[in-house]
């Protein structure tokens, strides 16, 4: 069971269809693990349904629209589970962006004990979306953010000033938070991260590394 959830604002905007692609991916990944947040999204969708029902009628020539309606199109077959589900450790909504296995990812070393790979979203190529891999016991340099940073753990766990985060948990860091996530003992930790604006690193060496490696 996940312990840390995206804020309600993200869940509601996901239900409204208003999240940018990177954030929508992260929320969809969390919903894979979290029945509780799926319920919140369902409630927000019911609200969307209620507003749809109330919306003052917008004139449509129903007779003409129905006259050219393609009644002959066959039903779309309900989706069925694949016969033998391939082994994967990445939530399905993320797989088009990074494949089905974390072991298949080609990392770039960013900092001792920390590797990263940039994820390119299709609708917004400039969006700051990436995967991070922290070696056991290793941390990211201390950093703050220019904008909200959303992180979901895909493998292992890490701890920072705000608590411990395991698979499926989401951390939301706002620009006022300076934090230092450290991967817990016993294995490496992989996170999927979306940042509204680039990180600001406290150490000049980290800033230098960022300039050469992060982009």
């Amino acid at each position: 069971m996940t312990q840390h959830h995206p804020t309600e604002e993200y869940l509601l905007h996901h239900a409204a269809g208003a999240l940018p692609e990177g954030q929508a991916l992260l929320v969809a990944a969390h919903l894979t693990f979290c029945p509780e947040c799926r319920e919140t999204v369902r409630q927000a969708e019911a609200l969307g349904g209620a507003f749809l029902e109330e919306d003052a009628a917008n004139p449509v020539d129903v007779v003409a629209a129905l006259a050219r309606f393609p009644f002959d199109l066959p039903p779309e077959a309900p989706q069925v589970a694949p016969a033998a589900a391939p082994i994967s450790d990445i939530p399905l909504p993320l797989q088009p962006y990074m494949g089905a296995r974390l072991s298949g990812i080609r990392w770039r070393t960013f900092w001792p004990g920390m590797q990263t790979v940039r994820i390119h979203t299709k609708s917004d190529p400039a969006a700051d979306v990436s995967l991070l891999r922290l070696a056991s016991g290793k941390g990211m340099p201390i950093h703050t953010h220019g904008g909200d940073e959303l992180t979901i753990v895909l493998h292992g766990s890490y701890t920072d000033e705000t608590g411990q985060y395991s698979v499926g948990d989401v951390a939301t860091a706002d620009p006022t938070l300076t934090h230092r996530p450290i991967a817990d003992a016993g294995g490496h930790c992989v996170c999927f991260t979306v940042i509204e604006a680039p990180l600001k690193f406290a150490s000049p060496w980290a800033r230098l590394a960022e300039r050469f490696l992060f982009r």
């Binding site: 069971m1 309600e8 604002e9 509601l12 905007h13 239900a15 409204a16 269809g17 208003a18 692609e21 929508a24 991916l25 929320v27 969809a28 919903l31 894979t32 693990f33 979290c34 029945p35 799926r38 319920e39 919140t40 409630q43 927000a44 969708e45 019911a46 609200l47 969307g48 349904g49 209620a50 507003f51 749809l52 029902e53 109330e54 919306d55 003052a56 009628a57 917008n58 004139p59 449509v60 129903v62 629209a65 129905l66 309606f69 009644f71 199109l73 039903p75 779309e76 989706q79 069925v80 589970a81 694949p82 589900a85 994967s88 450790d89 939530p91 399905l92 909504p93 299709k122 609708s123």
Partner: protein, 195 residues
């Protein structure tokens, strides 16, 4: 119950129940008469929704037609235990709009995902519960002040961010956030039957 006057809410609840029956008829036996009624009810509303989100009249008409075609072809998947007809059609309209803008599918979880964590077992009368909950939601929505309703509509129906709403209403961002939060908490309580 005899002699009790029918209130506007009860009327609306009856319409909602009827739309659910009609959509089931479309799903179970591709009932064209039932679909005609569904189309007449929802096509103008879907078009209004798309227009509200900035689609041109031509785009709104095209996407609305596409939404209704999807409703016709996928009605078999409609499950009254999960959502009312209007909620189900809202999610299709929302997804189709994103498909049209981004030319790709809206990211969502997949219950067939091998690592999916399933819901607790649904109650045996889930369909009835869903209908009751949604009727309560409509009633609670009517009880909100016009200002609260307008804010909610901007945020969750028109998809505006909190800062966009703050700019448009000239309210401080913190006020927008706290008012929305209060309004949504009230609606959730209504949905959970906790009023």
């Amino acid at each position: 119950m005899t002699g009790k006057p029918i209130t506007a809410d009860e009327d609306a609840a009856a319409v909602r129940a009827r739309l659910t029956v009609l959509l089931r008829a479309v799903g179970e036996r591709r009932d064209r008469v039932a679909f005609t009624e569904i189309f007449t009810h929802f096509a103008p509303r879907v078009r209004g929704y798309l227009g509200r989100l900035g689609a041109t009249p031509i785009e709104a008409e095209e996407i609305a037609q596409d939404v209704m075609v999807t409703v016709w072809r996928r009605a078999e998947l409609f499950d009254p235990a999960q959502a009312s007809a209007s909620t189900w059609i809202f999610t299709i309209a929302r997804n189709r709009r994103i498909d049209a803008i981004r030319r790709q599918r809206r990211p969502d979880f997949d219950p067939n995902d091998p690592i999916f964590v399933p819901d607790p077992e649904p109650a045996p009368d889930a369909a009835l519960q869903t209908a009751t909950r949604e009727n309560r939601l409509h009633a609670a929505l009517k009880d909100l002040s016009d200002d609260q309703r307008a804010l909610l509509q901007q945020a969750f129906f028109a998809g505006k961010s909190h800062s966009e709403i703050a700019a448009a209403t000239k309210l401080p961002l913190g006020t927008v956030k706290s008012r929305l939060r209060l309004a949504f908490v009230r609606l959730r309580k209504a949905l959970e039957g906790d009023v």
